[in-house]
């Protein structure tokens, strides 16, 4: 049976792993290569490696850092941050990434998704969507530029369009929940899962093992991505996965 995936996320800026609250107030959380090795050892199913400085600063992705991570870690790596073209994606894939995540550039030019999918296959293209609840009329809006700009898109419609254009997965981050550890936005995840047929990676809000169990239940996400809970050492990946397996979810357990 296909296992649900636990994906620690390494938000990187200036060569260090950082983590903020609601996309602001970034704090140093460690050396990316050492953290990646630790998470792989503990049973992480994949790693996400996002250069969060790339979009606002327009900086290129730190491909050498990715290459150092990829040299010793033999689980899938997703890389993102500032990917604007097939050439940007190729640089990350050649550095050792298995998948590239696109966000702002895909909103600006949706055909980028199709170009990447044709070039590298749908399985290599992750559409990252940062969504925020609309307070008045319900539903969720898409934000870009690391959460700084309202894109004027509906999250469900954009997810469906992205999958139709060739994205092989959707990395769905709730900006309301991100960094505050009060639980995933399960309603958002379930709505996007219904609106598409591609696997969904839920992100934002993980604070306890019960949060993971809730979002990974049938009809929800195929994978859950989190940062703070792992970086702060409040919940080990092995402990988390055993907890989820005991609750009946299919998990890959390592010794």
């Amino acid at each position: 049976m296909l296992s649900r995936r636990i994906i620690p996320c390494l938000d990187v800026a200036g060569g260090r792993v950082v983590k903020g609250t609601r996309f602001r107030n970034l704090l140093d959380a460690g050396d990316p290569v050492a953290l990646a090795a630790r998470y792989a050892r503990e049973g992480a199913d994949e790693l996400a490696f996002l250069d969060i400085a790339a979009t606002p600063g327009g900086a290129a992705m730190a491909a050498d850092l990715l290459a150092r991570v990829a040299r010793h870690i033999f689980i899938p790596l997703t890389a993102g941050g500032g990917v604007r073209s097939v050439a940007d994606a190729r640089r990350l894939l050649r550095s050792g990434a298995d998948k590239v995540a696109v966000n702002t550039a895909a909103v600006r030019r949706p055909q980028l998704i199709r170009e990447l999918s044709r070039e590298f296959g749908a399985q290599a293209v992750v559409l990252a969507i940062d969504a925020r609840r609309r307070p008045e009329h319900g539903g969720w809006s898409v934000f870009t530029h690391a959460g700084h700009q309202d894109a004027g898109l509906d999250a469900l419609a954009w997810a469906a369009e992205g999958a139709a254009l060739g994205a092989g997965e959707i990395l769905l981050t709730s900006m309301d929940a991100d960094g505050v550890q009060t639980g995933f936005d399960v309603a958002l995840v379930r709505a996007v899962a219904r609106a598409t047929r591609v696997p969904i990676i839920a992100s934002g809000g993980a604070g306890t093992p019960a949060h993971f169990a809730g979002v990974l239940a049938p009809g929800g996400a195929d994978a859950a991505l989190a940062a703070s809970i792992f970086h702060q050492g409040r919940c080990g990946i092995g402990v988390l996965k055993r907890h989820l397996a005991a609750g009946g979810l299919p998990m890959r357990l390592v010794e």
Partner: protein, 201 residues
């Protein structure tokens, strides 16, 4: 020398890193001459069946690849590189595969979500040399939407909606639908097993 067939699309870095970790140097090969010297050949693959076959043709690699595999040089196809062994694929109707193994690569029918992404278990049907010494449960990383149907040469099956071939072995010609270079210690052991294979010619 272990040759990694390089046809432009595939990401060789992960595979090369995994082989280096096992203490084995490999060479990216993009010419017929490189294939002639290889003691072992790995055909990695991500992307599109049709694009891959056209890229192999554009580099003149189809005929030498077929010749070397038929001659008994140990061969491992990974993911799309495994699918390339067959006659054709539902992903690219009309496009000719290598035709080393008779059969058609199909879509993953009745799959809940596509692509099939993530770690899944495989069930061995016969003792496979590639799986020697890998402890159960056998879990590997998959990322694909098309698959080889279960058949007589299936050494192990995986289930995602329906059963498909996860491991194939016929003499020195082998293929895996998952990515051993991304499957942690189990995948590294599978690659190490393959690296012990010797040519039969």
């Amino acid at each position: 020398m272990t040759a990694l067939v390089s046809y432009g699309g595939g990401n060789l870095r992960s595979l090369r890193n995994a082989l280096l970790h096992l203490g084995v140097a490999s060479r990216a090969v993009a010419t017929p001459g490189g294939l002639e010297q290889a003691e072992r050949i790995i055909l990695p693959g991500v992307g599109h069946f049709g694009a891959m076959m056209r890229a192999l043709d554009a580099r003149g690699l189809r005929a030498p690849l077929c010749r070397r595999i038929r001659a008994g040089v140990p061969f491992l196809g990974i993911c799309l590189g495994f699918q390339a062994l067959f006659d054709s694929s539902a992903e690219a109707p009309g496009e000719r595969g290598l035709g080393i193994v008779a059969g058609h690569v199909g879509g993953l029918s009745s799959a809940p979500r596509l692509p099939h992404m993530g770690w899944n278990h495989i069930t061995p049907l016969t003792p496979a040399r590639l799986l020697n010494g890998i402890p159960a449960p056998l879990g590997f990383y998959f990322a694909h939407s098309y698959a080889v149907p279960a058949g007589s040469a299936s050494a192990a099956l995986c289930r995602y909606g329906s059963d498909f071939t996860a491991v194939f072995e016929a003499g020195n010609c082998a293929g895996v639908q998952f990515h051993p270079e991304k499957s942690g210690p189990a995948g590294l052991r599978l690659l190490a097993n393959f690296l012990e294979w010797k040519a039969t010619c």
